[in-house]
């Protein structure tokens, strides 16, 4: 309820009367349990309302319910007024006259939000034709115009394509074009950038800022990330457990939050740089063979090009990297850059085109799988989606004890149970949870189970493929801290694949930046993340949104990189088509891999020019 006076204050006496969308005591219950609890919020024309909170806070459901899009089992009560029209309890027919015409919606998952078997053109023109009655030709012209407005290259070609042919960022632009297609007064965006790379996220946020300025429409931006709101939202509402716990102007919430919970979320988004991670147990590192080393590693995929020709796709090329005992190394880059391919190839889970792979100083490139198995014990993996990586039929105790069943068969059941309980405690799980199954745990708890299972055999190397990206901000910090503590205790090495540069800085001593399967830069994290040498690394860093409404708007104006283009022609630097420093030399000559500073390697002809331009902000 507190939001109504707040909004009235900001918009003068007429406040509520002019609201585009006003929610009043909106509640959503599933089987009697309130998931959204008496939420009151208002959005005004030309205003962007940011709604922030962790997953499960009910933020998306609030707006889905207002639009009549909540799941059928939801019981919705309260009021939701769009202008003079009450939306709650109205027929589909009434709502259909507003949805898509007056209110546009963009959903989180751009991969699943478009109908897979219909061309983009069909999906974009169907709301236009239905709501405005334009002819097919006029609707197509309008669609082309819209795709240009959301800055999609080659709009005419795009209309003929199917969703699977577009990248995540391109799909998100298409969804935005669909939402804007009938000149709506209000657009609701549900986590519009969560599934995207930082560079793409920066572009979409800049596009939203542009649209807000140009069109003067109301925006609702639902997100778990305070940084995504900075510079865009005029007012911010914080939700927790189905309730709005704080609302206010963006300046007020960002600079003088009232609630401790808001402060906690802000702190997580504003991770202070802090000292970069140091090597675990100094005596363990430096001595002994690398835990994992690859030399001149290359992975090629064969894929069918349109037509009948086959084309080899270079997933990795000329990879050279070694991981010392106790060391932590991060691999970063946009999706599709080969991060995950590198870990899979290095663990010999996929075939390689050529190159040498060594585990614990032993060449394993030619060993058959049967001989690899005993060695695999020392190299453990944890995965991005903690729930999907655990067998849903097994209890936590079985899951965590399984490695012992396989590798230490002599161990008795009692001894095994004891070790499992000790490990659960170590990773911060109540041993009483041992009887539960994965779906009865939170995301953070599932990831702890995954870590406990990997740690059971005291591995020398833990490979973590985006271990934090499926988790809430607070769980991310906790799991990050746990991984760091385990590494120090056990003196093991960590290979972290991540797109979260803050987490990388906290957890890893060295960072490897990949671009289109090739090494762009490798160096100590502190130096690489504050004084990057490669223009691509700099662009990645500049794309990370900053949770400060005074700083972020300037960054939204300057978009560092264009959408990923087609792979560069062979020969020369692979990054040159997107590089601000590209020269004739870059097209002719592949940049050599040189040690520009002590322990800091880069593949760029112009790294000295790049190093001069200090990192903005």
């Amino acid at each position: 309820m507190s939001s109504i006076p707040a909004s009235a204050e900001a918009h003068g006496a007429s406040g509520e009367a002019t609201a585009l969308l006003a929610l009043k005591s909106l509640s959503v219950r599933f089987a009697g349990v309130p998931v959204v609890d008496a939420v009151s919020l208002a959005v005004h024309p030309g205003e962007c309302l940011g709604v922030v909170g962790e997953s499960g806070a009910g933020k998306s459901l609030t707006f889905l319910a207002a639009l009549g899009l909540a799941p059928p089992s939801a019981r919705v009560s309260g009021e939701a007024r769009f202008g003079a029209t009450e939306l709650i309890g109205r027929s589909e027919r009434t709502l259909d006259a507003l949805r898509g015409r007056r209110i546009g919606v963009v959903f989180q998952d751009p991969m699943g939000a478009l109908t897979p078997h219909l061309r983009i053109g069909t999906q974009l023109t169907e709301p236009i034709r239905r709501h405005t009655g334009l002819s097919a030709r006029a609707a197509r012209a309008r669609a082309l115009e819209l795709l240009e407005q959301v800055r999609l290259g080659e709009p005419a070609r795009c209309l003929q394509q199917y969703p699977y042919e577009l990248s995540g960022g391109m799909r998100q632009r298409v969804l935005l074009a669909i939402a804007l297609s009938c000149d709506p007064q209000l657009v609701i965006l549900d986590e519009p950038t969560t599934a995207l790379d930082v560079t793409i996220q920066a572009q979409i946020l800049a596009l939203l800022a542009h649209i807000k300025r140009e069109r003067g429409i109301g925006l609702v931006l639902v997100t778990h990330d305070f940084a995504a709101l900075a510079g865009l939202a005029d007012r911010v509402a914080v939700m927790r457990n189905g309730r709005v716990i704080e609302t206010g102007s963006a300046a007020q919430v960002f600079h003088a939050p009232r609630e401790p919970y808001t402060r906690e979320l802000l702190a997580a988004a504003r991770e202070p740089p802090g000292p970069a991670a140091a090597a675990a147990a100094a005596d363990a590192s430096g001595t002994g063979a690398p835990v994992l080393a690859v030399e001149d590693l290359a992975v090629h995929y064969r894929r069918r090009a349109p037509g009948l020709r086959r084309a080899a796709f270079v997933a990795l090329e000329a990879l050279n990297v070694a991981l010392a005992p106790g060391e932590s190394l991060a691999v970063v880059g946009e999706s599709g850059c080969g991060k995950s391919t590198l870990t899979r190839a290095a663990l010999r889970l996929i075939g390689v085109a050529h190159g040498r792979i060594a585990w614990l100083g032993r060449d394993v490139g030619t060993l058959p799988e049967r001989r690899l198995r005993p060695l695999r014990r020392a190299l453990q993996l944890i995965f991005q989606d903690p729930l999907a990586s655990l067998d849903p039929h097994l209890t936590v105790e079985r899951l965590v004890g399984e490695p012992l069943e396989v590798h230490h068969r002599a161990l008795g059941a009692a001894a095994r149970a004891e070790r499992v309980a000790a490990m659960l405690e170590r990773v911060g799980l109540d041993p009483a949870l041992g009887a539960r199954r994965p779906h009865e745990l939170s995301g953070g708890q599932c990831q702890r189970v995954g870590i406990a299972r990997a740690m059971m055999l005291a591995p020398r190397l833990l490979v973590c493929d985006e271990p934090l990206s499926a988790l809430d901000v607070r769980a991310q910090r906790q799991i990050g801290a746990l991984l760091d503590a385990l590494r120090r205790e056990q003196g093991m090495s960590v290979l972290l694949v991540s797109h979260d540069l803050n987490a990388v800085r906290r957890l890893c001593e060295r960072v490897l930046v990949l671009y289109q399967g090739r090494m762009a830069e490798l160096g100590p994290s502190e130096a690489l993340l504050t004084r990057p040498l490669h223009p691509y690394t700099r662009a990645l860093l500049e794309a990370v949104p900053v949770a400060d409404p005074d700083v972020q708007p300037g960054r939204l104006g300057a978009v560092p990189l264009s959408e990923r283009g087609p792979p560069a022609e062979p020969g020369g630097c692979v990054f040159r088509s997107r590089c601000p420093l590209a020269s004739v030399r870059c097209a002719e000559e592949h940049p050599p891999w040189i040690e520009a500073r002590a322990g800091h390697w880069v593949a760029c002809h112009h790294w000295e020019r790049g190093a001069d331009g200090m990192l903005r902000a």
Partner: protein
């Protein structure tokens, strides 16, 4: 799409050749021979018969001769049915069987899809609640029970339709056999449609479509139905096999002069040429049905067309 279709059609020929080869040898390996049963023949007559049909030659020679004849469109002559050319026998029976199969296929697919959609449109309504038990009963009853049952009700009691038999150009004769054959098909397809539709309706892109205010009908027909029919289409291959084997029973129950009986007769009498002819016809039909299902699948889902092999 065209390239995909051509690649798939070219793939049929080797499969058919393998099928014919395996059948050719397996049936000859089975105990007994064409003139082993039936009347007691003198050893000399039997040897003469075997020589006349070339059965005394080594198997590879027989196989080569068979392929050579086949390449010229000659399916050989039946051993048991008055020396009739197999091609003529099939030519006489196939139209009846094909009409029955096509009618059952159309009836089963259309009514199955309609029932599945009906069940989803009114969740918890009459169709939705009746679908599961009805489908279970229909699938459990063999057609030699449902066939006579239908004949009893609609033929004998109500006298709407003929009980059995077949005259040329009288579609009425095919109504009861087609329904009998179509019932289990409709039951399976109704269940697949219902499950597929329920799953796609909860997909994220359906929510996007609804958020565009497209209206219920457009969302259902344009956005939900096509992906929902993928499992139905996948089932069409096995369904074709069911229609072939099911037609043997139904043709017998309703005394239709189709080709189904030739397969049974040929197998029992070790009438090699007749069996090989039937294998060729039914094998081709089954392969074509599976190909049709795959092409439909490619049409439903554009990703299939570009998939690497």
């Amino acid at each position: 799409m065209l390239g995909y279709a051509l690649r798939r059609i070219a793939g049929i020929v080797p499969v058919l050749l393998i099928l014919l080869t395996v059948s050719f040898f397996v049936i000859r390996l089975a105990p007994g021979g064409p003139f082993a049963s039936a009347r007691a023949l003198s050893a000399r007559t039997r040897a003469e018969l075997r020589a006349r049909y070339g059965l005394d030659r080594p198997l590879p020679v027989q196989y080569a001769a068979y392929l050579r004849a086949l390449a010229h469109g000659d399916l050989g002559r039946s051993y048991s049915l008055r020396d009739e050319p197999v091609a003529a026998l099939i030519g006489a029976g196939l139209p009846v069987s094909a009409e029955l199969g096509a009618a059952a296929l159309v009836l089963g697919v259309l009514s199955g899809i309609a029932l599945g959609i009906g069940a989803v449109l009114r969740r918890g309504g009459l169709i939705d609640r009746a679908l599961a038990p009805l489908a279970a009963v229909t699938l459990a009853l063999p057609s030699f029970v449902t066939g006579p049952l239908l004949a009893l009700v609609f033929g004998l009691w109500l006298r709407w339709l003929p009980v059995a038999g077949w005259q040329p150009d009288t579609p009425r004769d095919l109504v009861l056999p087609a329904i009998t054959l179509a019932l289990p098909l409709a039951a399976s397809i109704a269940r697949l449609t219902r499950a597929g539709l329920l799953e796609t309706l909860s997909a994220s892109y359906i929510r996007t479509a609804r958020a565009r205010g497209l209206g219920r009908a457009r969302v259902l027909w344009h956005h939900a139905l096509r992906p929902a029919l993928v499992p139905v289409v996948s089932y069409l291959g096995p369904a074709a096999t069911y229609l072939v084997t099911g037609s043997l029973v139904v043709e017998t129950v309703f005394e239709l002069p189709g080709t189904g009986r030739y397969l049974v007769m040929g197998a029992i009498d070790r009438d090699y040429t007749l069996v090989m002819g039937m294998v060729l016809v039914y094998g081709t039909l089954t392969l074509l049905a599976n190909l049709g299902a795959d092409l439909l699948h490619a049409w439903l889902d554009p990703r299939v067309r570009h998939e690497p092999e």
